[in-house]
């Protein structure tokens, strides 16, 4: 990973907070699903953004409600689950 954990949290916070009035109040522990802030448009943009800033490729089984429930949860799964090489059968 080319970016530190705190940098990644700050970067994702900035990315999500700039999405709208309701998003501006988001903290790293805000439940993005319960609050209805994460729609499919934001999810896809978020994944693309994470892949760009961190160099990590996100796999199909990682895109689930528990990994994307909050910014803290996203960063946690990114740090915990380094992408094994050669397991990209889901990606097109």
């Amino acid at each position: 990973m080319t970016i530190s954990q705190s940098e990644l949290v700050a970067d994702l916070l900035h990315f999500v907070q700039s999405r709208g009035a309701r998003h501006a109040e988001v903290t790293s522990h805000t439940d993005l699903l319960e609050s209805g802030l994460l729609d499919s448009l934001l999810l896809m943009d978020l994944i693309l953004h994470i892949e760009e800033v961190s160099g990590i490729r996100i796999e199909g089984d990682q895109v689930n409600p528990s990994n994307f429930r909050s910014i803290a949860a996203i960063v946690e799964f990114l740090l915990k689950a380094p992408v094994p090489q050669g397991s990209r059968s889901d990606r097109r």
Partner: protein, 549 residues
């Protein structure tokens, strides 16, 4: 305008399919000579306890739906001058939406469905245009204002006396629905759909797709969208079941819902299929009941369509094409033709004529590129109170100019070649850049704005270019915040860029092609950081003031 809030109580017990259910029932094709309200009434009456809608809260039967629609009808009929009055719906996909929709038709009103995420000024413009008498919403989706009278109607399961079909004076050529969409100038236009339009398109689709009474279709498309509305009408008129999935956010939750709810069919826009292919892990799920999927509302590359087809086999994949002005759908590519006619949107569906025409509305031969035009009983009556915009797209002999540039092969299969205007599709929604531009220019009167669609991965997003029209400084952060706070999500620019002046074409118009090249550079770089830009046109250099926050 008065407000009616609907509240569907959770059903007491899941109604079981009775003797009406399963293979025993077969809906007859509705007559285009009838009225959509009465066609609904007959089906709902015949289906009784059979499930019409399944949500996380439970299963709502056709009887519940009929009873609830009748409650809405009674409320509306008690109002003076209700025949032909506009009834706006601001409801997410829910049992309440269906009750409101058919209740308004049974009360002989005109339904005006609006998206939940609609911007306030845009919504206000629509209200001014069509002057709704009543707005129907739900408590959790409505923020009350003091100027409106609010009534609440609880839709509960209660044994009701036999409901009989009220006498309906509205004829099949009368207006049933106003579907607001982006016109070719970016102003909202109300597509006027008659009972006949809606019934005719439903019949055409029922000819092309194997929809039957025991179908259970998973719905992620909003009913207020032409595509979503056509799924609603075709399935209710078949006596089938709608499985409402509240969140289409996670590809895995769509797959999980398809599997757990034993869905037999699924329809979505290309964005959703691209998401499913990337992150849905399609092969992991057992989709034993799935018979087919359909895509419409935008272009899905052949390779991706073929990949979906391969992964859902033995279920079939139908590629369809349509637009709101034609009620919903116009063409269908049968699954067996997908690999033979790569990239085709298919043939005209039953009851629809499609042709490629020149500027004088003369038919062009196969191979020639021109305006894709459509004729049929599904073609709208026109745009609401806008005869000149109607005349621009609808000829006296009933041909609708779709705005899509296309050609056909010698066997009558059509292929899209582009757009004749600036409209683009984002998540199945038609967006005109002028909607974003006029929004920004209204909020910031000294700013000139140009919105340019650009590709971000496989998706389409907007980059906004702004330039000062006066000596005042441009507050980029404020423009960005205003867009993010007030524009609907699919219209929000991913990047705002300040230019000293816009590049111009030789005709002194803003050179959108040049800006598209600049936008492509921007969207390739990280959009949250400072964009590095050195765009030049052949005619004149443009300088970009890099944004600093």
């Amino acid at each position: 305008m008065d407000i009616l809030l609907l509240q569907a109580e959770p059903p007491m017990a899941a109604p079981m399919a009775t003797t009406h259910g399963k293979a025993a029932f077969r809906a007859s094709m509705p007559s285009v000579e009838s009225n959509l309200g009465s066609a609904f009434f007959e089906i709902a009456h015949a289906r009784g306890y059979y499930p019409a809608v399944v949500t996380e809260a439970g299963t709502y039967s056709y009887e519940w739906l009929l009873h609830s629609a009748n409650c809405v009808r009674r409320y509306l009929c008690a109002r003076p001058g209700h025949v032909g009055a506009r009834v706006a719906l601001q409801l997410s996909n829910s049992p309440e939406y269906l009750a409101a929709f058919y209740g308004a038709l049974l009360a002989e009103c005109v339904v005006v469905p609006l998206p939940i995420s609609i911007e306030k000024p845009h919504c206000q413009k629509i209200y001014e245009l069509c002057q709704p008498d009543v707005l129907i919403s739900r408590g959790e989706e409505f923020s009350p204002s003091e100027s409106h009278a609010v009534a609440t109607l609880r839709l509960c399961e209660k044994p009701e006396e036999e409901i009989s079909l009220p006498p309906l004076r509205r004829q099949n050529h009368d207006l049933a629905m106003l579907l607001f969409t982006s016109g070719s100038t970016g102003m909202p236009k109300g597509v006027m759909l008659s009972h006949r339009n809606l019934l005719a398109n439903a019949c055409s689709i029922l000819h092309e797709l194997p929809i039957c009474a025991d179908d259970r279709t998973l719905v992620v498309l909003p009913f207020c969208h032409a595509f979503g509305n056509s799924i609603l009408q075709t399935h209710i008129l078949s006596g089938a079941t709608l499985l409402l999935h509240r969140s289409a956010t996670f590809p895995v939750s769509i797959m999980e819902a398809l599997s757990r709810l034993r869905a037999t069919s699924f329809s979505a826009v290309p964005e959703v299929y691209r998401m499913l292919l990337k992150f849905g892990q399609l092969e992991k799920w057992s989709l034993k009941d799935l018979r087919y999927m359909t895509v419409a509302g935008g272009e899905l590359r052949y390779e991706l369509a073929a990949e979906i087809e391969r992964r859902i086999a033995p279920a079939s994949f139908y590629i369809m094409y349509g637009q709101s002005e034609a009620t919903a759908r116009l063409a269908c590519l049968p699954p067996q033709q997908m690999h033979v006619r790569r990239g085709s949107i298919g043939k005209a569906i039953t009851g629809v004529e499609l042709a490629v025409m020149d500027d004088l509305n003369h038919r062009l031969p196969p191979g020639a590129i021109g305006m894709l035009s459509a004729r049929g009983e599904n073609v709208m009556l026109g745009y609401w109170q806008d005869p000149s915009a109607t005349a621009d797209v609808l000829s006296a002999d009933g041909w609708l100019r779709t705005g899509d540039i296309a050609h056909q092969d010698t066997d009558g299969y059509f292929y899209l070649n582009g757009r004749a205007n600036l409209l683009v599709k984002v998540q199945g929604y038609r967006v005109h850049p002028a909607e974003i531009e006029s929004f920004v220019e209204t909020a910031f009167p000294h700013v000139r704005a140009v919105a340019i669609p650009t590709s971000r991965g496989e998706e389409t997003r907007f980059v906004l270019f702004v330039s000062s029209e006066s000596t005042e400084l441009v507050d980029l952060a404020k423009i960005r915040a205003t867009c993010q706070n007030q524009l609907a999500p699919h219209k929000r620019p991913i990047h705002v860029e300040l230019l000293d002046r816009f590049p111009l074409t030789s005709g002194h118009k803003v050179d959108r092609a040049e800006l598209a090249r600049v936008a492509a550079n921007i969207s390739r770089t990280d959009t949250s950081s400072v964009a590095v830009l050195s765009a030049k046109t052949a005619a004149e250099p443009i300088s970009a003031n890099h944004q600093i926050e």
